[in-house]
């Protein structure tokens, strides 16, 4: 795959203002014989937060996991089509999955801090990728990441405490700090607030807004208000298809597809 091949296909809902960070073309995912994703094409840019919405089992999380090849870890999963990061195919043998995941970070549905100290949780990525050679340098990365995740003031005096001792919302922000620490270009969030209470959720949503522009953020959510609040672009998935992709305002006020309209008005889902 080369740049030409990607640009020759019309980007779905792309603004054209900026070269997209990630491009997906006709992505299909099979779990054994079951086709979970039936040809998805999308462009993802850094300036926008992109939200994937749709009913359970529609393929939105499956597609998200394609973007950093986490589906590789699922036995029996097969991905077809092409996904590119800065124009380079992520399935290219020359593209190392370790480097890909360092560039495309991920935050999971349930906060999953490692059973280590807060400091070691954030320093985990920089250490395995050798981003810091000296202790002060690493300290700086940890502090900056925690600041960006809005957690620094709450934990700066207890960095040696276990990450698992934090509250659920703090744990999730710790996981975001951990993802930020390797300075990724894209952050994938798989329903990052679905296990949190409303206040912690609001905190995460603010954070996502603060991080916009610095990282390309893709968020999967089944909460449509959340999608409306945090995203600028929305893709609606249904039964393995991407039904509609466009500006958030447009999708929520004037959807082109009847299925999208039915879903966002609560007709099903």
């Amino acid at each position: 795959m080369n740049d030409q091949a990607f640009s020759s296909v019309a980007p779905a809902g792309g603004t054209g203002a900026e070269k997209p960070k990630m491009t997906a073309r006709d992505v299909r995912v099979f779990y054994g014989a079951f086709e979970a994703l039936k040809g998805v094409s999308i462009d993802i840019s850094t300036e926008n937060v992109t939200a994937f919405i749709g009913p359970s089992g529609c393929g939105k999380s499956t597609f998200l996991r394609c973007l950093n090849r986490m589906n590789d870890t699922v036995a029996g999963a097969r991905v077809e089509g092409s996904i590119a990061l800065d124009g380079r195919d992520i399935h290219d043998p020359a593209m190392d999955v370790v480097q890909l995941r360092a560039r495309v970070g991920m935050v999971f549905q349930k906060p999953n801090p490692f059973p280590k100290s807060i400091y070691d949780n954030v320093a985990y990525g920089p250490r395995i990728h050798g981003l810091a050679t000296k202790k002060p340098e690493l300290d700086g990365i940890v502090e900056q990441s925690l600041r960006r995740a809005g957690l620094w003031d709450e934990v700066k005096d207890r960095l040696a405490d276990s990450g698992t001792a934090l509250s659920g919302g703090q744990q999730q922000r710790l996981c975001i700090a951990r993802a930020i620490a390797v300075n990724p270009e894209v952050i994938l969030m798989d329903e990052p607030a679905s296990a949190l209470d409303p206040i912690a959720t609001a905190r995460i949503e603010e954070l996502i807004d603060e991080l916009r522009g610095r990282y390309a953020i893709v968020i999967v959510t089944h909460n449509m208000q959340q999608a409306a609040r945090v995203s600028q672009k929305v893709a609606f998935f249904h039964l393995g298809n991407m039904v509609e992709y466009g500006d958030t305002r447009e999708i929520f006020t004037n959807p082109k597809q009847s299925r999208t309209k039915d879903y966002i008005t609560g007709r099903y889902g």
Partner: protein
């Protein structure tokens, strides 16, 4: 004789069941199948009657089986004319055992003229009392059945009572196991106490000289009897907790990591049961493997690298084989611990761009560490209690040495040696086995309790 009565009582109980059930059926018919008009289903009425018949009858027969012999013996002894037997307990026992032999027909003729008459009396008494108790039990069964039957009413709570009696039966069954355990521990403690009357606990626990041969005659030389058990404790730790674990921990852990993280599901399905078969090999088989194959090989190897005083029974040989024996145990515990680490932890690390091996080293093993440590402690407790391998391959010389090519002995091997063959049960030599057993029991108990506590808190952390 009493068996015949037992069958008869059983028959009575069966009849009681049918009668009770028949009555229950009549209740049900009269109640026209209306829910609530009859409390219990017919067979509960039957069971209730049968249990009331069976329980007292069986209790009486059990009493007879336990006390009958003593009852008869007392009467038989009383019947012997004064001066007919010696006055000591030993004389009486000898007389009684001859009488019993005559009754069973083991001896054609009696040695003691009094025994002949006593045997005849014994037979007569046994028959008479057997009939009395047998008939008594049948009568009790019939009475119980009748009483139970007479209590049946449509609203009688037969089901509740039967369920309660079932529960009591289960409680009694589990009590048997628990009480047996306490009995064993009590006997260990009691015999150890007798040992510590002869040898001071300080010498036993901290002495370094073990030579349990005590003099049987005053003029015997070279058998002073030294009971410093430190060389035994050391040998046990050296083989079971050091050498065996050096083999079992890395191999078991790596096996578990491979099986949980890398192996294809199909391979895992085959490999796990195969490993469990390894755990099922009788330890005596490992024992002769250790003694006949590994021990000579270890000795030859030691000599080839210039250790000329290598023993043919070495700590290394026993420890190596014991380590292999423990591998499935360690790997299965580590497997459980690694599987208990949530998938999200693994995903989190992989999504950071960590390789599978980095994920295992930096996230999975630290997360699973308490579980793994608990498993290793259980394995240690198992290894130090293991007997056959060390009896066959480690030797009996109580050396205090850190040289793995030398022979050492363990607590279990010494217990076997001390109690094998004809023994007098009042010498310090024999009693020391109980003290050793007590120490072993306490150590393994402590290890197990601690390990299980560690594993439990660890499981709670992820549930």
């Amino acid at each position: 004789m009493s068996w015949g009565f037992a069958w008869l009582a059983l028959l009575v109980a069966a009849a009681g069941f049918w009668m009770g059930r028949a009555r229950g059926v009549r209740f049900a018919e009269a109640g026209a199948h209306e829910i609530g008009s009859v409390h219990s289903r017919p067979h509960y009425h039957g069971l209730f009657v049968a249990i009331l018949a069976l329980l007292p009858a069986m209790a009486l027969l059990l009493l007879w089986a336990l006390l009958g012999d003593r009852l008869i013996a007392r009467e038989v002894l009383a019947s012997v004319p004064a001066g007919g037997i010696g006055a000591t307990d030993l004389d009486r026992e000898a007389f009684l055992s001859e009488v019993r032999g005559l009754v069973r027909g083991d001896y054609a003729a009696a040695f003691d003229p009094n025994a002949e008459a006593a045997a005849a009396l014994w037979k007569q008494l046994a028959q008479r009392w057997g009939v009395v108790f047998g008939l008594g039990s049948v009568a009790l069964a019939a009475m119980g059945a009748l009483w139970g039957w007479s209590r049946l009413r449509p609203q009688f709570r037969a089901r509740t009572r039967v369920e309660r009696m079932t529960m009591l039966l289960l409680v009694v069954a589990s009590l048997v196991a628990i009480l047996t355990t306490f009995g064993i521990v009590a006997s260990l403690v009691f015999e150890s106490f007798r040992f510590f009357e002869l040898v001071s606990p300080m010498e036993f626990l901290f002495g370094t000289n073990w030579s349990p041969q005590t003099a049987m005659r005053a003029d015997q030389v070279g058998s002073s009897g030294a009971f410093g058990a430190v060389p035994l404790f050391w040998g046990t730790v050296f083989i079971g907790a050091i050498i065996a674990m050096i083999v079992a921990i890395p191999l078991g852990l790596m096996t578990a990591i491979f099986l949980t993280q890398y192996a294809a599901p199909g391979f895992r399905k085959v490999a796990k049961p195969v490993l469990e078969v390894l755990a099922g090999v009788p330890t005596v088989v490992y024992g002769f493997f250790a003694a006949l194959t590994v021990a000579p090989a270890v000795r030859d190897f030691a000599i080839s690298i210039g250790i000329s005083d290598a023993s043919s029974e070495s700590a290394l040989a026993a420890g190596l084989v014991m380590g292999v024996m423990i591998i499935p145990f360690v790997s299965s515990m580590a497997d459980d611990a690694l599987t208990a680490v949530p998938q999200s932890m693994r995903d989190g690390s992989l999504a950071m761009g960590a390789t599978p091996s980095e994920t295992i080293r930096k996230v999975l093993i630290p997360a699973a560490l308490p579980g793994i440590v608990g498993g290793v402690l259980l394995a240690v407790s198992r290894a130090i209690g293991e007997t056959m391998i060390v009896v066959m391959a480690a030797g009996l010389a109580a050396n205090l040495t850190a040289n793995p090519f030398h022979s050492v002995t363990t607590v279990t091997a010494q217990i076997v040696a001390l109690l094998t063959g004809d023994q007098e049960f009042d010498s310090a030599k024999t009693l020391s086995a109980f003290a050793l057993g007590l120490v072993l029991f306490l150590v393994t108990l402590a290890l197990n309790v601690y390990a299980l506590a560690v594993v439990k808190t660890y499981r709670e952390a992820y549930d």
